[in-house]
Symmetry: C2
Subunit: 331 residues, 2 copies
DNA sequence: TTGAAAGCGCTAACAG
DNA sequence: CTGTTAGCGCTTTCAA
């Protein structure tokens, strides 16, 4: 907890000006070799490291890529791993930022604004609520907001995944199938909702509004919706949830209500976060390649930053149904 | 990609000085209510957000906590989730930083130096190689470097875990048990090594240097060590690896060599990262509570930043053996 | 109640 | 080859 040495300290100790230190440290032309040596020696002695912040204020470029997330939950964590891997042999540092303080709508707008222009050379936004941002750096969105996307985006086939999940429930013999929706502002959530409805309709089953709850990916909202749905006398025998964390919460609620999964209730989630397969019983779900999502976004961003106009600006990756222990025919 | 508005833009548009804008935005005393209103209106219109970087250069405090990792691999990702959860209802933003560019020793020294003093109010370093850092903010280390730690630390019982893992192999009937070591600069790696040796010694088994490889947690090094070890005529019938990623690599190498796991070779890892249970065959491992590690560190850091001297500065959490599909009696 | 001015640590002209 | 100077966007005295 000693005070960090600044460029001024180094300059003083080396008996040169701060400008010379800057040049020496950054390997700029026009410094005598012996001066460089002396400066670097002092740098080593003092353990000096240039402040990323101060440098970035002047030099418009920092070699840092930012990943903006609402929260460090399992989904973002997986995406982050993918981005990290894709960037591991690039020359960029990686900075992940979550504005804990502003769960409010528009967090990414704020975060991006605060970091861009100085700290980061490019950004990846994960499940942004707002798509129309003003940054002075290239931005790629993963699983973006609904509405016109002027941003390059990477997402997965939510409609197809939801269709498949719901169909599998139907194939098992379920006819009363509930749905807990996700964040209504995300394009992917809407697609999952649509996939669910389509599967029912295709099978000639009615869509009962009483079996559609709004969870918004928030634990408390999911709990409330699940409680209401499962307490009904005509409760569903299966529920499809728009993401795994919601599905896991439903399983919890079911068990509190004395319902056994999957005997009394089948549950399918979406994402296949690590927590899904670790749960007891292991959660059936729709796997989306989260790490690939991140890696793909990183690749696009890298191109963008190199001034390359990407040929594909909207990537959609396939999903796959993974049936585990929370699905069974109705009792 | 419009240019981000700065405080100067706001000032101009509102017809006041930048100083006034600053005061209005930050709710300082001494600004006429109507001026405040006008300024905030312009702020909203322009979509202005103060630059985190510029602010942090002047105001010694930012409300941001930094987590410094070498890489966004599974272990750090889990830790990050824990930190995020612990901080979710604090007033702090969370910033995770990985210096991709400097895999070199001392990355955390550099990262910390570059971020602290300006950008972050406190830091958590994950598996730092260097423990003697000069930051001007409080720092907590997770799974730290060996050597005298003047830093508060959080880690798990690596010795006990390794002991248990190796013993379980012995109990299965194995007598030739290999070990692929981790990063020799980490205290936890050394403890795992020691636990392995102790288990063998306790059982009256010799420690064969030919069965101890150095992996350093790096895939290529692990591969080489595993290859060498498994090609021997007197190859081990079981291997304990200092972390899961190493163990997974060993399984891969074994299969390339035509050895079937666990029939021809038992493997146990350490950590229980999500990838371990998803692997085929599912990896037997020593579970360490990675998220709790992160949460615990966050709690300590919060105290430190509040000026509270923590009563316990070195937390050690228990581990638990999780036997899955990569362990069996020797053929 | 407001604004002018200094300065955080650093880089980039430009002089010397 | 080196130092002086001028900011980057912001906050904070201190006068007006």
């Amino acid at each position: 907890m000693k005070r960090r040495p600044t460029i001024t300290d180094v300059a003083a100790a080396a008996g040169v000006s701060v400008a010379t230190v800057s040049k020496a440290v950054n390997g700029r032309y026009g410094v005598a070799p012996e001066t460089v040596d002396r400066v670097l020696q002092v740098v080593a002695d003092l353990g000096y490291e240039s402040s990323l912040i101060a440098s970035s204020m002047r030099s418009r470029t920092t070699g840092v890529i930012g990943v903006l997330v609402a929260d460090f939950e399992p989904f973002s964590a997986e995406v982050l791993k993918g981005v990290g891997q894709a960037l591991s042999d690039s020359r960029y540092d990686l900075l992940a930022y979550s504005g804990t303080r502003s769960t409010a709508e528009g967090w990414e707008r704020r975060s991006l604004s605060r970091l861009s222009g100085t700290l980061i050379d490019g950004a990846i936004m994960v499940t942004p609520t707002v798509v129309n941002v003003n940054a002075d750096v290239p931005v790629v969105a993963i699983d973006p907001h609904t509405g016109p996307a002027d941003l390059p985006t990477v997402e997965c086939d939510s409609f197809g995944g939801a269709l498949q999940a719901t169909r599998s429930l139907i194939d098992l013999g379920h006819t009363r199938i509930g749905f807990i929706a996700g964040r209504p502002d995300l394009r992917s959530s809407i697609a999952r909702d649509a996939g669910y409805r389509r599967a029912l309709t295709d099978a000639g089953l009615p869509v009962d509004p009483a079996l559609v709850g709004s969870g918004s990916y928030r634990q408390d909202a999911v709990r409330m919706a699940a409680l209401e749905m499962l307490r009904r006398s005509d409760r569903p025998t299966a529920v499809f949830a728009a993401n795994d964390l919601s599905a896991l919460e439903i399983v919890r609620v079911a068990s509190e209500l004395g319902l056994e999964v999957p005997r009394d209730l089948s549950v399918i989630g979406f994402d296949d976060v690590p927590e899904a397969s670790k749960a007891i019983p292991a959660l059936s779900t729709v796997r989306q390649p989260m790490q690939v999502l991140g890696a793909e976004a990183a690749r696009m961003l890298l191109d963008l930053m190199d001034g390359i106009t990407p040929t594909v600006t909207h990537v959609k990756l396939p999903t796959r149904l993974v049936l585990r222990e929370t699905t069974a025919p109705p009792a």
